[in-house]
């Protein structure tokens, strides 16, 4: 599904440069649920951004679903993002003047779907996250957990191969976090490949595999026994 070889990335800081990723090798199979952990500055977000094609690596190889991702123009990146990837952000990143339904339908708009089809699909995914009744509400009328569920519905709308989550529970309280994780687990049960960045151990333990980063290299890469979030709810 996803294969990364000797990935390097550095950021210029003033005259010097900061070497953030120092040769990452990682391969993820379809249906996995991977937590990328590490303290801040370990390079976990940078890795996720490169996987998400929001950022580009300086060196190394990145193959997603047998497509080598290289020489990305902005346009190509946009099309790949739309086709392959779904994003879930810590701060939800919903567009605040659009209703929940319109937010979910947005990736479909960029896919070029007809309005009727978009609304149909978006409603389907909103129903899946249990927010069909809230379809016409604006984001600021929703609770944090509801917002994140709308964001998940949006990430799912384009039916991506890979779901990328950047601290999906970072802005939520524990109970809501577990609810969201329960939902993400159920998505994984259905066969979605999920990659998430987190620094919370309990959240990481709800994944099937933990990759620990430190100072730009992988320290540890273990498969674990998944803790079901439902046990905590």
């Amino acid at each position: 599904m996803l294969k990364i070889n000797k990935l390097h990335k550095s950021y210029p800081i003033g005259d010097s440069s900061l070497h953030v990723l120092k040769g990452i090798d990682l391969s993820v199979e379809a249906g996995e649920m991977v937590a990328i952990m590490g303290s801040s500055g370990s390079g976990k977000s940078t890795l996720l951004n490169i996987i998400g094609m929001l950022d580009e690596a300086d060196e190394g190889e990145y193959i997603l679903d047998n497509v080598p991702i290289k020489d990305l123009t902005e346009k190509k990146a946009a099309i790949y993002r739309n086709k392959f990837l779904g994003f879930i952000f810590q701060s939800f990143n919903l567009i605040n003047y659009k209703s929940a339904l319109d937010n979910v339908a947005l990736p479909l708009y960029y896919q070029g779907l007809k309005r009727k089809e978009r609304i149909e699909k978006a409603l389907f995914h909103l129903e899946k996250v249990g927010l069909k009744k809230w379809a016409t509400h604006l984001p600021n009328e929703l609770s944090g957990g509801q917002k994140q569920r709308v964001a998940i519905a949006r990430a799912l709308a384009a039916n991506p191969k890979l779901l990328l989550a950047d601290e999906p529970t970072g802005a939520l309280d524990t109970t809501t976090s577990y609810e969201i994780m329960d939902f993400i687990q159920s998505l994984n049960d259905e066969g979605k490949t999920i990659l998430m960045v987190t620094h919370e151990e309990d959240i990481a333990n709800m994944c099937k595999r933990i990759v620990r980063l430190k100072d730009g290299v992988i320290m540890e890469d273990v498969f674990i026994n998944q803790v079901r979030a439902l046990q905590h709810v």
Partner: protein, 412 residues
């Protein structure tokens, strides 16, 4: 075609209605610019129309020539001799000066005019039908003097509306009525509209030239003549040539500048025309400059908007919007808001012109006559708006996509 898709406009509507105050303020600049342009152009047109009405009854490429007294002794004549213009002078000028369209000899005198119990002293002109060509008479009733009147020395008179008001009862029939002119009965054959503000004293009534000759014992003498040049000829040259011939015929010193007086309408008119075109240039200049300033205001605010929406744009790009789609959206917003503001400006500019017209447009002495702009001008203005809107929209559009999506998303 994306312009005809509901979604495109839904997006535009969403992002503009998201912040109504900002959208409104953005529009004020362009609205004001186009309002000013329409208002100024309309006023300039109104002023032009009012000048045209002032000169309107005259063929503008004309010069009036009359005789005065000499200022230099010549060929045995002493200075101070009064020169008398003759019909033959007019004929000679018509034959010998290049570029002439008409030469119209005229006589004028004061006459006591009586109708029933009403009377007054009015200015009577002895005229040829040709006068109507040089100084257009707007006939309200009947006709102007014709050649038969001249040939038969008929006692007919064409009166102005003003005279009618003074000599006739309200709504009284005047055609074929008789009025007394210095004790002689004249039949009224026509009535013309009194010109508005006019050049020089107006004519109250006209009788056939030949009749005038007879009743005032004029012989071959004429009071003055109007010379009209062809549209392409130089009226100043015609004036000089005509005066030279007149000096020759009347034994006047070639350098005697006092013997013949003249008023060159063409020269005066040219002054006004260049004044008008100068004003029109100024109007366009000010209007378009204001318009550009307005469009820049739109660009400026869109730039701020884009800055504010950096994160949103980042999200959209994470969701698969291509840079082109983002740019297109912003340009469409810019053009839409520009055109909308422009249309409001055109409408309110129209109201301004209506207000100007009702304030200054009435009556014979109106400063602005029919202050208006042509549809062509409106379309040109709109076209300029579309072009400027597109160009100015490109700046924030490129700004929006110059930021990497990852940086845009990090923005708080």
């Amino acid at each position: 075609m994306f312009l005809f898709e509901r979604d495109t406009w839904q997006e535009v509507y969403d992002s503009l209605s998201k912040n109504k105050l900002r959208s409104a303020l953005t529009m004020v600049g362009v609205w004001w610019g186009i309002l000013l342009l329409i208002g100024l152009l309309g006023s300039a047109k109104g002023l032009e129309n009012s000048f045209n009405r002032l000169f309107g009854s005259f063929a503008t490429n004309s010069v009036f020539v009359w005789a005065q007294s000499t200022s230099k002794p010549f060929k045995g004549f002493q200075e101070g001799r009064f020169v008398q213009l003759k019909i033959s002078d007019a004929k000679k000028i018509e034959e010998n000066v290049d570029g002439i369209e008409f030469v119209v000899p005229r006589n004028r005198n004061q006459a006591l005019v009586i109708h029933d119990f009403l009377s007054g002293s009015f200015r009577v002109g002895g005229d040829y039908p040709l006068l109507d060509k040089v100084q257009k008479k707007k006939m309200m009733y009947g006709r102007f003097i014709n050649q038969t009147d001249i040939d038969e020395k008929r006692k007919v008179v064409v009166i102005s509306e003003e005279i009618y008001k003074q000599l006739f009862e309200k709504d009284e029939e005047m055609i074929d009525e008789y009025i007394q002119l210095n004790g002689m009965n004249f039949k009224v054959v026509g009535m013309f509209e009194t010109a508005g503000a006019n050049m020089g004293p107006t004519d109250d009534m006209h009788i056939p030239f030949s009749t005038f000759q007879q009743i005032y014992n004029m012989g071959e003498n004429i009071g003055f003549m109007m010379i009209t040049g062809k549209p392409e000829s130089d009226i100043v040259q015609i004036e000089a040539d005509a005066k030279l011939i007149l000096r020759n015929l009347n034994k006047v010193h070639p350098e005697d500048n006092r013997a013949f007086g003249s008023f060159n309408l063409g020269k005066e008119f040219a002054k006004f025309t260049s004044f008008l075109s100068g004003m029109q240039f100024l109007t366009w200049f000010v209007g378009i400059a204001t318009l550009i300033a307005g469009v820049f205001a739109i660009g400026n605010i869109l730039l701020i908007t884009v800055k504010e929406r950096t994160k949103e744009i980042g999200v959209r790009r994470a969701l698969g919007a291509t840079p082109f789609e983002i740019k297109r959206q912003i340009v469409v917003e810019a053009v839409f808001i520009t055109i909308l503001a422009g249309l409001f400006g055109i409408i309110s500019g129209g109201w301004i012109l209506i207000a100007l017209d009702s304030a200054f447009g009435g009556g014979g002495e109106a400063v602005l006559v029919n202050a208006s702009v042509s549809i062509t001008v409106v379309f040109i203005a709109l076209l300029i708006l579309v072009i400027l809107g597109t160009l100015i929209g490109l700046i924030p559009a490129f700004k929006a996509t110059s930021i990497k999506p990852i940086d845009a998303l990090r923005e708080e």
